[in-house]
């Protein structure tokens, strides 16, 4: 079976370098599925879950936005953080969720800073995505 090489590259390390059958990336305008022999592509990414299949087993990786490039039979994902489910600190993500919810509540009632509200919402989204990545282990 034809395979793709998936490399997830972060500033600290290469988070993943694997031969996969398919990849679904969280593109800026929605999920994008990539199979072998895909046309060359460059895409911006949202924070979200990167899903891939190795030997019929499905795995996920949490990415915090970034970029994906398909060139030849290689998918390169360049992101600030790529976390495997087992690397995610559940307690910390829950804590972040609570904080973000509190900030949103505060921002909505009073004449809160709209920028801060947006940030809090983004933080909440990240926390929830981390938790869902953790669960799909």
């Amino acid at each position: 079976m034809a395979t793709l090489t998936l490399r997830v590259i972060t500033p600290d390390k290469i988070a993943l370098d694997a031969s996969v059958a398919s990849v679904v990336i969280p593109g800026a305008d929605g999920q994008i599925g990539i199979l072998p022999r895909h046309a060359p592509m460059i895409s911006a990414l949202n924070a979200g879950l990167l899903r891939y299949t190795v030997d019929g087993r499905k795995s996920v990786l949490f990415v915090t936005g970034g970029f994906a490039e398909v060139r030849g039979e290689t998918v390169r994902v360049v992101t600030e953080a790529g976390e495997k489910p087992e690397e995610i600190d559940e307690a910390r993500a829950k804590e972040a969720e609570k904080r973000a919810r509190a900030r949103i509540a505060a921002g909505k009632t009073a004449e809160g800073d709209p920028v801060d509200l947006l940030r809090a919402e983004a933080a909440l989204r990240r926390a929830l995505l981390r938790l869902s990545a953790r669960e799909s282990r």
């Binding site: 600290d12 046309a39 460059i42 895409s43 490039e69 360049v78």
Partner: protein, 290 residues
């Protein structure tokens, strides 16, 4: 001439200094290795980002030079990010960079500079000379720096540039060439210049699907590219600092060793002399009694 006791004290203190510098040398070696590993680990990321930037620039063609971060800023002033160390005892590491800064200032006498400084040494140097330090970046300290703090610094510089405060932004840091060669270097951070060169050398073949479109990707990619440049500059400076510190501590240890040996020789000769003198006295006394 120093007395026997003075000599003994000096030998002891030289020995102590030697122990300390030896320990500092070993600490520097460990830290050096750590920062080198960090620098190596970050390389694929910055290569990928740089590659993407140049490929997208090729797709965008001439439009690139009209984007905001690629044209000269509206301001009169120049911002310089100045990367020095927090601690001394690292040879000529800091003073080499100070000299670089002085040369630049001498060549651009009419320019009003806002300094963004990493490292206590650079901060005290600049404030002592009455230069305007716009920001002293201590949180987190240079040694604890990670990609995210480098990204914050990058953002502060980009924001200042886009707000029309600066016409240009430069970075002065110490490039790490080899274990014994560290070169004070400056490069222009903003407006971005290097990407233009990549445009004519690299041509992407065939059609590339772009999601959402080239301009949007490019505009979110460029800040990442700038972040990697800052991060690399910081890591290279740190590597240079510790390489330089290791060499100077090694030299100090060796010097202490040579000095200790020399002092020991003098001390032994002196002691021998004293014994001989005493013997002569005794022999002389015995002679006199006869």
């Amino acid at each position: 001439m120093a007395s026997i006791r003075d000599l003994r004290n000096r030998i002891k203190s030289v020995g102590n200094i030697r122990q300390i510098t030896r320990a500092m040398e070993m600490v520097a070696t460990t830290k050096l290795r750590r920062f080198q590993e960090k620098a190596v680990a970050s390389r694929p990321y910055s290569q990928e980002i740089t590659g993407l930037v140049s490929r997208l620039a090729a797709l965008l063609g001439d439009d690139v030079s009209e984007r905001p971060l690629f044209a000269e800023g509206a301001g009169q002033k120049v911002a310089i990010l100045f990367v020095t160390s927090d601690r001394g005892l690292c040879g000529a590491y800091n003073s080499n960079l100070f000299r670089k800064a002085e040369l630049w200032l001498a060549a651009n006498p009419k320019v009003d500079v806002d300094w963004y400084v990493y490292g206590r040494k650079g901060y005290s140097y600049m404030t002592r000379r009455g230069r305007h330090v716009e920001r002293f970046l201590v949180e987190p300290s240079l040694e604890q720096t990670d990609y995210r703090s480098a990204a914050r610094t990058s953002k502060a510089l980009v924001d200042g540039f886009l707000a029309g405060k600066y016409s240009r932004v430069l970075v002065m840091y110490t490039a790490f060439e080899t274990m014994v060669r560290y070169v004070p270097t400056e490069f222009q951070f903003l407006p971005i210049q290097e990407v233009k060169a990549a445009t004519d050398t690299q041509k992407t073949s065939g059609d590339v699907i772009l999601e959402p479109d080239a301009a949007v990707i490019f505009d979110s990619l460029v800040p990442r590219y700038l972040e990697t440049r800052i991060y690399n500059a910081l890591l290279e400076s740190l590597t240079s600092e510790y390489a330089s510190r290791r060499v100077s501590m090694k030299n100090a240890t060796d010097a202490a060793k040579t000095m200790g040996n020399g002092l020991k020789k003098v001390y032994n000769r002196k002691r021998q002399e004293n014994i001989t003198k005493e013997l002569l006295d005794i022999v002389g006394g015995v002679e006199a009694l006869k």
